[in-house]
């Protein structure tokens, strides 16, 4: 009996699986058939599960907030706007598969995402082939926006940010012996290479990289790398990583050398940096394009609203996602149509004044933004004037 039951169960599962597949297809085809459904969809793709889920969820929160504001004013082109979240688990393979799914839904005008550069680049060819606009609020790999005319980024390219970070280390802090700790990911590798190149260009002023250590994701012990940097005589450490690298490195480094100065990057800018780093991140400096403590009334209302709804201050990347949605909707409004080619042209020509400053795409579909220098003082982020 047991055996029979298990076979029947098995068969039922198989049927269920295929029925599920079939059900999905009919669903999508009916959607594409009913184009005049009266809603405009915007996909938000990013890691919703897995190790980087906090970023993907931040994107969705930001997108929902922006869309609700528009919907309160009767949407765009008289249609309601809908946010559709997609989970790519921050893996290129998943992202490519999701991209296929997104492009088969004709109501989707554009995609906000993906999170990591490598993942965004795995998905980009599909969007380009099917003429769907992709705006990544976080990809910073120099090659990303070169993947196609529909591929935009609302994040500064690494070069600009690296120069800003280096400027803080050399000119503001007056340090000359630079140590680099970078995370061994596509982003970390290319960023640290750029930092190194910028330092060699300034070699005449006596600035040099004394040591560079690449560390792996998923190990929390950085003491061997720190010992090396310390022995090499670094007096400032440029820490190329997210908050989850910057906080423990600062902590472990300050146990060895309490006088070390640490410079980070804008994606270290998050509430968790303070929670994790505690006293060790005091004095940490980094450049950001979005600062939640800003006096700007527009930023203030946005930050207050976000805090009220989601219980935390929005990070820089989340805010860029917020603006990206705004840009896409504004472009649809300007284009006066949902024709993707026309919306694309409108995005390319847009001048958008959002919470992360003025956004204008250049001919490479990248943005130029001005940086605010931020430091940690008494457990709070403070702007350096």
């Amino acid at each position: 009996m047991k055996r029979k039951l298990s076979i029947i169960l098995t068969l039922a599962m198989v049927m269920g699986t295929f029925a599920g597949c079939a059900g999905k297809t009919s669903g999508t085809s009916s959607q594409s058939g009913g184009k005049a459904s009266g809603t405009i969809k915007i996909a938000v793709a990013g890691p919703m599960t897995g190790d980087n889920a906090e970023y993907g969820k931040g994107f969705v929160n930001a997108a929902n907030m922006m869309v609700e504001q528009w919907n309160a004013k009767d949407g765009v082109l008289g249609k309601k706007i809908e946010v559709v979240p997609y989970d790519d688990k921050n893996s290129g393979e998943e992202a490519a598969s999701i991209a296929q799914k997104i492009v088969s839904d004709k109501d989707i005008i554009g995609v906000i995402g993906h999170f990591a550069s490598g993942v965004s680049m795995a998905a980009a060819p599909t969007y380009q082939e099917n003429k769907v606009i992709e705006i990544s609020p976080s990809a910073s790999h120099p090659d990303y926006s070169g993947m196609g005319t529909y591929i935009f980024r609302n994040n500064t390219v690494i070069n600009v940010e690296a120069a800003a970070g280096l400027d803080m280390a050399i000119n503001d802090l007056g340090k000359k012996n630079i140590g680099i700790i970078s995370i061994k990911t596509d982003w970390g590798t290319s960023t640290s290479a750029i930092v190194k190149k910028l330092v060699t260009e300034k070699a005449s002023t006596g600035v040099k990289v004394v040591a560079h250590e690449e560390v792996m994701e998923g190990s929390d012990d950085y003491s061997p790398a720190i010992t090396k940097l310390n022995a090499a005589g670094a007096d400032v450490v440029i820490c190329v990583g997210m908050y989850n690298l910057v906080a423990p490195v600062s902590k472990q480094y300050k146990q060895v050398n309490p006088n070390i100065a640490v410079v980070g990057f804008s994606n270290a800018y998050s509430q968790q940096l303070l929670d994790l780093g505690g006293k060790a991140v005091e004095g940490l400096r980094f450049p950001v394009i979005f600062f939640s403590g800003s006096e700007n009334p527009k930023v203030k209302t946005y930050v207050d609203e976000y805090k009220k709804r989601f219980g935390s201050t929005p990070s820089a990347l989340t805010s860029q996602a917020y603006d990206s949605v705004g840009i896409l909707l504004e472009a649809i409004k300007t284009a006066g149509t949902t024709d993707r080619a026309k919306v694309r042209d409108a995005v390319a020509a847009i001048k958008y004044d959002g919470v992360t400053g003025n956004t204008v795409f250049n001919e490479k579909r990248d943005v130029q933004k001005s940086f605010v220098k931020v430091t940690v003082k008494d457990g709070k982020f403070v702007e350096i004037k």
Partner: protein, 303 residues
Amino acid sequence: MSGILTRNCVATVIIQQLFNGLALGMAYALIAVGYSLVFGILRLINFSHGAVYAFSAHIALLFVGLNFGIIPAIILSIVLTGILGVLIDKTALEPLRMNNSIPMASLITTIGMSNIIQNLLMIFFNTERKSFPAFFDFGMIKFGSVQVNSTQVVMFVVSLILLVFLTLIINKTKLGLAMRATEQNSKAASLMGINTNFVISATFFLGGASAAIAGVLISGYYQIVYPGMGFMVGLKAFAAAVLGGIGVLYGSVVGGLVVGVSESYAATFMGSSYRDSVAFIILILVLIIRPTGLFGKKDIKKV
């Protein structure tokens, strides 16, 4: 290398890296003991152990957050994680033993269990890195130019106590006798009136509890907790357990220290991105020379 390090620094770096490696190795050893306990009795690689370790750290964090105080939080974490170990055995593994399933079925079951625990942690505690209170941080202890963190010392001492305690349980108590009997021949042991299922569950409890001790100590050292924390550490601790001779407790400690120190030196001389696989390279070399690990016993057949 010489370009980066001046000559008088080299000696300091080498000694400092040795201490870094020993501290890291002690962390591996603490986790490795859990693999070793279960493997010793069931000849099973318990892939859920890394997730159990992450679970213990989250539970401790939860109770600290609920203002239970640090010591009660640790004790609760140890007890609850031990119970989780028993639950894994009772719900998933014991039925397989009753059915006389193939050994690989148990292996897949532990992989499935690891999936369940880790993803539930992600749902209930979110994926972001959370700050964990430094339990035993009394500052740095200096030996000349070499510095040792007090938490490292605490980890070292606690691991030794745990090891002695477990060895005493196995060698001096009735339970330990039953464990050894079950390990050698579970059928014969049950014929002799030993409740082997109880013995195995007790082993899982000890395994879970040791994972909790490891979880609390290591999280207290790095002050970081997140659901994926057990994965890489778990694999390396497992390598350490096999290296020392899986099923032999002091072997786990030696294996853990070897892995920790070699990782630390690999980071020094080859670069930090090489360190993750050093454990496996050493493991393979040792297994080729001594197929059962450094202190391993012979005659292991099951998968």
